[in-house]
Amino acid sequence: MELLREAGIAYRLRWKRRRLLYRALRKRHQLTAVADRTGEIARDAILAAATVRNEIVRLPHFLTHHRQLGVDHFLIVDNGSDDGTREYLAAQPDVSLWSTSHSYKLSRFGMDWLTWLQIRHAHGHWCLTLDADETFIYPHHDTRSLRALTGWLEANDRQSFGALMLDMYPKGPLKAQTYRPGDDPFRQLCWFDGGNYVMQKKPDLQNLWVQGGVRARYFFADRPRQAPTMGKTPLVKWNRRFAYVSSTHSLLPRRLNRVYCEKGGEMLSGVLLHSKFLHVVVEKSAEEKERREHFANSELYETYYDGLIANPDLWCEGSTRFISWRQLEAMGLMSRGGWV
């Protein structure tokens, strides 16, 4: 009986994946190539894919950091920016840029567009799917490049790599900070919630549903179910038949979601440092609240936006100051698993 049920779920998810791929196929016409440098992608290149909107403040550091890690080429969709993001990206030698003014929400928060680009360009490559406010780190990232990581993952028969999204915030009101584009944002956003994460296993997709962090503590203390999901699977050895289901929290086929060990051991995992709470978040929240493009049930999140617009101080006595990946590893937010 259990077997039958499992087979039923597997079959349903198979069709779900096909639907997602078909969606991406239909949405391909919404993209216009601005700078197509995909011809330069080498066979073993490591790619990064992102959808951005008005991210001129964060992009310089985003690109620099991930270039340093060893991303060879960026596939970026610009969703109607008007702050120079588009021009900036088009001028980068290792960025291929597409633009669209269609709805972010109707494109499953940009995933349909990226899925199409990944079908076209990421097949057979290790691909990092990120947001512009996410900075990917992993154990030893300061001495070992992404290529070392992906090589190790492949040698260990892994096709995907999990990361915890870690909301970073400043001490003091959000707007009180000053940040110059290109700087390391985590010099100011150097605090995080170190030990209030909860997780449960999703029965169908078998991914871990991780919640917690400062947003759960500060904005969702009275309705924790609605708190944002913090577990992601950003790094995948891509196949054109793969598809992300909701943001990069889970993907299909579901074996890719098994980035955790259930037998008591620890698997190698990383962290996405989240630079959402830069000073620009206050204005952006006002705009996002109007646009209603960011959550499936936007009404549920009105108080969240109101909270952000109020320019809060997210710091508390129990906050931890960020030092290095070794610290995150020792705290158990990520693990080096067997990778010494």
């Binding site: 070992r144 915890l164 009275d222 924790p224 060990c261």
Partner: protein, 566 residues
């Protein structure tokens, strides 16, 4: 006399070339074997790149798949060529393209010259090695393995299972005693030539061809037949993870490798420029003529294996989420749970904190909020006191609290008023928990309260029901915590002894007995209170027997003697 190097190469040819030149520069003749699956173009380029070196030969190519005979065949071909082509080679060192000499090659040559008869080959009987994969140790030598473990795992497993069921066993030829060990060895000409020109070699080859992972056992077994002196260790530093895959060395291992004093290490990441730069230059070793000492590396790597297979107990995180039964410890440290103490004693929390020096919380699972010590609203790790957040996943809440405060023992209060459903089982099953219960003392606050008696009666009935269920949990055979339960009547008879036991178990410095005891609530009239409850039709029994007369006939004892020592 010199040392000949056999080099098995299948990838990263630029690095292989670099290392080959390094060996050659020190005067070591080389025989190189390149995997047959390497494309002709790459292979030819590699051969021509090394064509300027006089003492380099390329041997017949075999297809080398992990765990198969090909690797042994390759080594045999290369060994034969080496012995034939280079007459003055006395030791033959088996290395791979991703091996890196850590000390000047001359030191290795000298080291071997001082030990002309010694074979360095790790070789242990199957009974003595812990690192066999998949539970196959002796069976490697008695079963057949026609299917690839990497590519056809299912068939591999099924076929092993079938052979076990049928009781199939291969015969080991000529009474060989199977030995296993690292595939990277260094043999003398005598031993190697004896193995390769053995009249029975075809028998051995035919046998080992069907053994699983023969490259770890062929030479290791046969060397035992001929060697004059075996030193059972490998001169090549090579570490393996829990799946038997070699660990890879990166740039940040530079200091570690330097301190190992080993001659050769594998496997080196081909892009580890710093490592290659450091060790390929001539003055790398700083001329320390010491015995290899990989102890520190051993410790680091065995820790890593432990981390990967057992993880950190009590940690639940994105890449460690053990299913029930595999947690290897529900929490990471010991903690104490007190039930009823806070009701019976007026200043219990402060007293406990003072006496034990531990962190003492109030009712962590109270309905209103998690009562952290000192009225804090957030704890270490930004753990919030919000009841909603806590109740969303109580188990994670408790595990996080104990994890976040590693190094400081936690104590907290619990009682039937709290939200203990879902969590009581977790705590009862946790061997790290020390649970002490004074049953029935929830009645004391009711007794003291200024509420209508009907409400009190109702509340008492509810609490008694909750606590009685809770005690069933604590008394269940699955409970693994250290649990002590007293009825209230029992406890107040002689409160010092149980308190002392609990405190001793927490294990703080207090060896000379308790200097101070908490102040017990005034219980005069409590017996009458219980009787009143009984008169109302409720049956309070968890607190044990309290005589009614005490309250009735001794009103003059309004202030009974508090339980104080000394």
């Amino acid at each position: 006399m010199s040392v000949g190097i056999i080099m098995l190469v299948h990838t990263a040819f630029d690095r292989a070339e670099q290392v080959a030149r390094h060996w050659a520069a020190a005067g070591c003749p080389l025989v190189i074997h390149a995997d047959k699956s390497v494309p002709a173009k790459t292979y030819n380029a590699f051969v021509s790149a090394l064509s300027d070196l006089p003492d380099v030969r390329f041997c017949k190519r075999h297809r080398c798949e992990w765990g198969t005979w090909g690797l042994v065949a390759a080594t045999q071909s290369a060994g034969q060529l080496m012995l034939h082509e280079f007459e003055d080679v006395r030791h033959v060192y088996l290395a791979s393209g991703s091996c890196l000499p850590l000390r000047p090659v001359q030191e290795l040559i000298d080291y071997l010259a001082e030990r002309p008869q010694t074979d360095f080959i790790e070789s242990a009987t199957t009974a003595d090695v812990p690192w066999t994969m998949g539970g196959l140790d002796h069976e490697r030598f008695t079963l057949r393995f026609p299917f690839s473990w990497r590519k056809h795992r299912y068939l591999f497993d099924k076929y092993v299972y079938l052979q076990r069921r049928l009781g199939f066993r291969r015969r080991i030829p000529n009474g060989l005693v199977p030995h296993m060990g690292s595939q990277w060895w260094c043999l003398t000409r005598q031993t190697l030539s004896a193995i390769l020109s053995d009249p029975d070699r075809h028998v051995y080859d035919a046998y080992f061809r069907r053994v699983w992972i023969p490259d770890e056992s062929y030479f290791q077994t046969l060397a035992r037949q001929y060697s004059l002196q075996i030193e059972s260790r490998s001169l090549t530093l090579s570490k393996f993870d829990y799946q038997g895959k070699p660990h890879i060395f990166y740039d940040d291992h530079l200091q570690l490798l330097r301190r190992s004093d080993c001659f050769v290490a594998r496997k080196i990441w081909p892009f580890a420029n710093r490592l290659y730069d450091a060790f390929m230059s001539d003055n790398a070793g700083a001329m320390k003529r010491t015995e290899p000492n990989p102890g520190k590396i051993d410790r680091i790597f065995s820790k890593a294996v432990e981390r990967r297979t057992r993880g950190r107990p009590g940690l639940y995180m994105q890449s460690r989420f053990p299913v029930e039964g595999r947690e290897n410890g529900l929490t990471c440290a010991q903690y104490s749970v007190f039930e009823g103490f806070g009701d019976l004693f007026e200043n219990f929390e402060q007293w406990l904190a003072r006496i034990t020096g531990t962190r003492v919380h109030g009712h962590l699972f109270a309905p209103e909020r998690a009562e952290f010590s000192d009225g804090q609203t957030v704890m270490n790790g930004a753990l919030s006191d919000s009841a909603a957040l806590r109740d969303y996943n109580k188990r994670a809440f408790l595990a996080s609290l104990i994890w976040n405060t590693r190094g400081e023992r936690q104590c907290f209060q619990m009682g039937p008023r709290d939200h203990i459903e879902d969590i009581e089982w977790e705590i009862a099953k946790d061997p790290n928990a020390q649970i002490s219960v004074i049953s029935g003392s929830w009645a004391v606050p009711l007794f003291k309260s200024n509420r209508n008696f009907a409400d009190i009666r109702q509340e008492a009935a509810r609490l008694q029901q909750v606590e009685s269920k809770h005690l069933d949990v604590l008394r269940s055979p699955w409970a693994k915590a250290r649990i002590r339960i007293w009825t209230m009547a029992e406890f107040i008879e002689a409160p010092m002894e149980p308190l002392q036991t609990i405190i001793d178990e927490i294990g703080q410095q207090n060896l000379r007995g308790l200097a101070e005891v908490p102040k017990m609530a005034d219980l005069s009239g409590f017996g009458q209170f219980l009787q009143n409850l009984k008169n109302q039709g409720m049956h309070p029994y968890l607190m044990g027997d309290f005589p009614v007369e005490h309250g009735l006939h001794e009103p003059q004892h309004a202030t009974p003697k508090p339980y104080l020592v000394k």
